[in-house]
Each structure stands twice: as C-alpha cells, then as structure tokens.
C-alpha cells in the first residue's frame, strides 16, 4: 500500500473555558477528542455527524486554521503540526478549503476576479497577466464565463457562488481539498450541479477530498470511505458501501434511519434516539453515546471504546463489537 496523502494521529482540540479573577482555565470544550484517520491520494473521505460534533474543528485543524491541542497531521510526508506558522501559511498552497456557506465565505466587496486572483498574489504565483489568464481559465473550468469576473458575489446564485468557492480552492493547484459542508446551504437541484462538478474535477485533476457533511445521502454519493463522528470522537469509519449496508455503531444506525427518504412508499425501521447531544464541555463518561444509546451496557458508562477494525476496511468504536461484546 502506498503511503497515504494525509495522516492524522490523535488529533485533539480542547477549547479552554476561562473563569475567575485571573481568567484561570476551569474546564474545556472537548471539540475534538483524539481523532485519527488517513486519506489516500485521489480518494474522497466523507465525514458525517451531527452539528457540533467536531467536524469543522477537525477540518480546520488539518490546515491549522485552528492550532491543534494535541496530535499530528502529516501531509505528503511533511509534519504540518510542527512547522512555523509562516511555513504553514505557505503550505496552504497545497491544501485548500471549500466552505459551507458560499455566500458568507466570499468577501461581499470584492469582485470575483479579485477573489480568485488573491491566492495567486498571496503565494506570489505568476505576474499580473498570467494571473488574469489563470482566473479566466478556472472560471471556465468550473462552468462560469470570463465575463463573470467583474461581478460581485451577491450577483450570483448559490450554486454559482459555490463554483466560485471551488475555483478559488483550485487556483493554487492544491493536492488536497477540504470541503466543509460545501452543499448544505444549497437546494437539491443546485446541490446536484456542485456535486457533479466536484466529481468531475477530481477525476480530471487527480484531487483528494475530505468531504464534511451531515447529509448521509450526499456523502454516500461522493465518498469512497466515510467516517462518522459523535461528540468529538470518530465512532465508525469504513468504506462507504460497507458503512451504508451494514452500519455497526448504534449511532450510525440511528443516523441512517433518521434520514428521510424521498419515497412515500419506503417504510423503514426508524430508530428514534432520544434526547439531545450532550455538551462537549461536559461529555458523558465512558462511551459518549451511552446517554442516548438503545443498547447501552454497564461497561459503556465506564470505559471509552477504542476505534478498532472489526472487518477489513471497517472500524468501529463500540463495546458491542470489542472484547466486552458478550458482557
């Protein structure tokens, strides 16, 4: 097996909660708590999970838009977590990001041309003329026209804006694109356009994606492998077919069953899980899902399950499958 393009080990992000006279740290929001995974070159890793489970935080830490509290990120053989912040800034040429809200992520006062040219300027690529040309080329590549260049973001539709966001991510010829909920803000019909575009670009430019979303349908469509997060932890990660056909973690099962299917005749067995997601500042002991889990065992409240491979290409962190399975 070839070395993966990106390897993440034991990534953690604790946001301090400050208190008191001298702003002493009194606790932590464990936004991401010991997450490890890898992404191979040319593949798409989907990450799903409910709001607030730490998906974005993970994504941002990969680019060091947030400094990890702990853990290692190795990209293309380089350990990103240990280089200087200026080197990191330069390294961002190779890792780019596409954001959830295409409108919010474009400066409303800049023209599209300026928005697209900026990454090139920042990384000192080309001269004014070649930069302009590149901007226009990429506008075409994402299905827009060069005459759009002088317009402002608000003059585009949601789908077009997301294309601009993707074009910007592509400007510096990155190897890895982290897409943080790139289609969640879009309509179904527009969403389809963007998903198709992303797939086409991947083939053409041999891109690697980390695709963060909460819509399991979308993730299934685009991902080769899928990781499921719950409360700052990766609870299951598997090849996409395996995960959807045979979800192992009770949370994954519940999640899959909760997704409404556009077919009035489809009758599914809904696992309605009770209650809300607990607060990451005060996560439940043991398995963090035990408060909502229909299969809770005693051990779940005490021991944190480890993410273990239970079949080839399928890992899960649940006591139902580990050594405590029979208890």
């Amino acid at each position: 097996m070839t070395e993966p393009l990106l390897k993440v080990e034991g990534l953690k992000k604790y946001f301090p909660i400050r208190k008191g006279l001298l702003s002493r740290v009194s606790g932590h929001v464990k936004a991401v708590d010991d997450v490890s995974f890898y992404v191979n070159k040319g593949e798409t890793l989907g990450i799903v999970g409910e709001s607030g489970c730490g998906k974005s935080t993970t994504g941002r830490m990969l680019m060091r838009l947030l400094e990890p509290s702990e853990g290692k990120v190795v990209f293309d053989g380089k350990e990103l977590t240990s280089i200087s912040s200026d080197d990191m800034r330069k390294a961002r040429r190779e890792i780019q990001m596409v954001f959830q809200d295409p409108y919010a992520s474009l400066n409303p006062r800049h023209t599209i041309e300026k928005i697209l040219e900026e990454p090139l300027i920042v990384h000192g690529i080309g001269d004014a003329k070649t930069r302009k040309k590149k901007v226009h080329d990429f506008l075409e590549i994402v299905g827009l026209s060069s005459y759009h260049a002088k317009r402002y973001p608000h003059q585009f539709s949601g789908g077009q804006r997301q294309r601009i966001g993707i074009a910007r991510a592509l400007m510096t010829n990155p190897k890895l694109i982290i897409a943080d909920e790139p289609v969640s803000a879009l309509d179904v019909s527009i969403q389809a356009q963007v998903l198709n575009l992303m797939q086409d670009l991947q083939k053409e430019l041999n891109l690697t994606y980390i695709f963060i979303a909460h819509d399991l349908g979308v993730v299934r469509h685009i991902s080769d492998r899928v990781g499921v997060m719950y409360l700052g932890k990766m609870v299951e990660i598997a090849e996409s077919e395996l995960l959807y056909d045979k979800p192992l973690h009770p949370y994954t099962q519940a999640l899959l069953s909760a997704v409404p299917v556009p077919d009035p005749n489809f009758v599914r067995e809904q696992i309605l899980i009770k209650g809300d997601i607990p607060s990451p500042s005060n996560p439940p002991s043991g398995c963090t899902f035990h408060t909502r889990c229909p299969f809770k065992m005693d051990v779940c409240t005490k021991i944190v399950p480890k993410l273990e491979e239970v079949e080839p290409g399928h890992s899960v962190a649940c006591h139902l499958y580990g050594e405590h399975a029979q208890q």
Partner: protein, 297 residues
C-alpha cells in the same frame, strides 16, 4: 471543459451590464434620492469653497466699523458682523476653511481610530486590552487639556486644531470599529482568506477594514458638525482659523454677544453648518449603501 456550460438562462439573474466598481457604486448611489440631495448640498458647498473668492459680493476682511451689525438688507443679504463685514461674503469664503476643518479632522480621527480599533478587535487579548484601556483614558480625559498639550507641542494653528480635534475623537471611532471588527472577524470570508494562506496585514486592510466602515460613515458625517463647532471652541487656545479668516464655527462663536441684538450674525453661519452636516449625513447614508455591493439588487 468539465461541468456545465452555462446556458444563457444561467445569467438571466444578472441583467445589469458589467461595469467597474465605481460605476456600480455611482449607479446605486443615484438611485437613492436622499443621497443625491445630500450630495447636491455637499457639492454646492464644495463649489462655493472653490469659487468663493469670485462670487462673494464683498471682500472677507473689508472692515467698515461704522457699518457694523447691520440687519440683512439689499446691500448685505445676510447683514453685517461686528466689524461691518458682509456676512454673506464671509460665509462664502468660510466654506473652504470650515469644510476643511470639519472634513479633515473627522478623516484624521477615522483613520487613526480605525487602525487602532481594527488592531484591537482583530488581535484581541492583551493588544485589545491595552488599546481599549487607552481609549478609556482618552475618553475620560478633558479635551481642553489635550488641546493645550497639542498647542504646546505643535504650536497654534488651524492645522493643529484639526489635529487636536482628530485626537480627541479617536476613541469614539476606535470603539465603534473595534466592536464591528469583533463580529466581522468571525465571518467565514475571513477564515477563507486565512485558508488560502493570506497574510494578516492583507486580511486586515483588504478584507476587514472595508467591511467595518458602515457605522463609521454614519457617525463620521455627524461628527463633522461637532468638529466645526469644536474648532471654534478651541479658538481661545490659539487653535483655530487665523483671524480674520472667516471660519463658520468662529463666526458662530463671535456672534455670542449679539445673540439677541443682532441674531443674523449667528443664524446664517449656523444654517451653513447645519446644511453642510445635513448634506454630509444624507450623502453618508447613501454612500454607505452604495459602497456595499450587496445593497444593489
């Protein structure tokens, strides 16, 4: 070529012609009637400021003591002041100085306030604590003392009055910008700018600054009036227009003794200031919208 060729309908949503940003701004500015009226007023005063010396019926400093404090008449439309000078002519000449004072002192404090406010808001932590506390000090500090200090360092002059007023107003704008920056910096497009590897300086001035100016424009246009009046109030410190220059604020201040006996000495300069501020204000509101591409539908 991948993706979809945009069908013509793809661009139906945007019928407006492609145009430069200034053209765009101008177009939407024109749409607001209020803003155009405001711009008209400001333009009027600017023109007056430029061609004043040619259109004023009389010189600015033609003293005629026997003819002092004449009520408005056919010869002197706005009456004469306590030196027998024609008030209309002085107001016309004064436009240049007063606009200069009002406008540039505000610009000065906006620039300094913006820089401090942005740095405080963006970097937060101790930088913010220090700058904010400096603002606290400046706010609680009597402006007279500050002005006296300015004279003693820089000497008396109109420019230095401008500087003094600018300094006095820095914390007002600084605070305003800071609070705006606090929310802007959480915007996704700032994160996205960082994500493409952008340097802080560029983020600050190319992205955060233009997006946090709206409240400042509104506040700034109001501040023009206060600046003109303050400039006159600092006159006794030697800060202000050099006599006998016809500065509106000073004309107003000089009218104090004749408030009841010769009210025209106060009414006309007062109206001039008010109209200017009205103009700047209306224009400011329009400008704020015009410079924001989003306001154009």
């Amino acid at each position: 070529m991948v993706g979809f060729a945009p069908k013509p309908s793809d661009v139906v949503a945007q019928q407006d012609k492609v145009a430069g940003p200034w053209h765009e701004a101008w177009r939407s500015f024109k749409k607001s009637k209020v803003a155009v009226v405001g711009a008209g007023i400001v333009l009027f005063f600017i023109i007056v400021a430029f061609i004043g010396p040619w259109i004023a019926p009389q010189g600015i400093n033609e003293q005629n003591l026997p003819n002092r404090l004449q009520a408005p008449s056919f010869d002197h439309w706005f009456g004469t002041d306590d030196m027998g000078r024609d008030i209309l002519s002085r107001i016309i000449h004064g436009a240049r100085i007063s606009l200069w004072v009002g406008f540039f002192s505000v610009i000065g404090s906006v620039i300094a306030g913006s820089i401090l406010g942005i740095v405080a808001g963006y970097y937060g932590k101790w930088v913010d604590a220090i700058i904010s506390r400096i603002f606290d000090i400046m706010l609680a500090f009597p402006s007279i003392l500050l002005a006296i200090a300015v004279v003693s360092v820089l000497g008396p002059s109109l420019q230095n009055a401008l500087i003094a007023i600018a300094i006095i107003n820095i914390p007002n704008f600084g605070r305003l910008i800071r609070s705006k920056v606090l929310s802007i910096k959480e915007e996704e497009y700032i994160t996205s700018a960082k994500a493409i590897g952008m340097q802080d300086i560029r983020i600050l001035f190319s992205h955060i600054l233009p997006n946090s100016m709206a409240p400042v424009i509104v506040q700034g246009t109001l501040a023009i009036a206060t600046a003109i009046i303050e400039a006159a109030a600092l006159g006794f410190l030697g800060l202000g227009a050099e006599a006998p220059a016809p500065e509106w604020g000073k004309m107003l201040a000089d009218s104090k003794m004749y408030l009841i006996n010769a009210p025209w000495t106060m009414i006309f300069p007062g109206i001039a200031i008010m109209l200017t501020v009205l103009g700047f204000n209306l224009m400011g509101d329009g400008l704020r919208d015009a410079l924001d591409p989003r306001m154009k539908s």
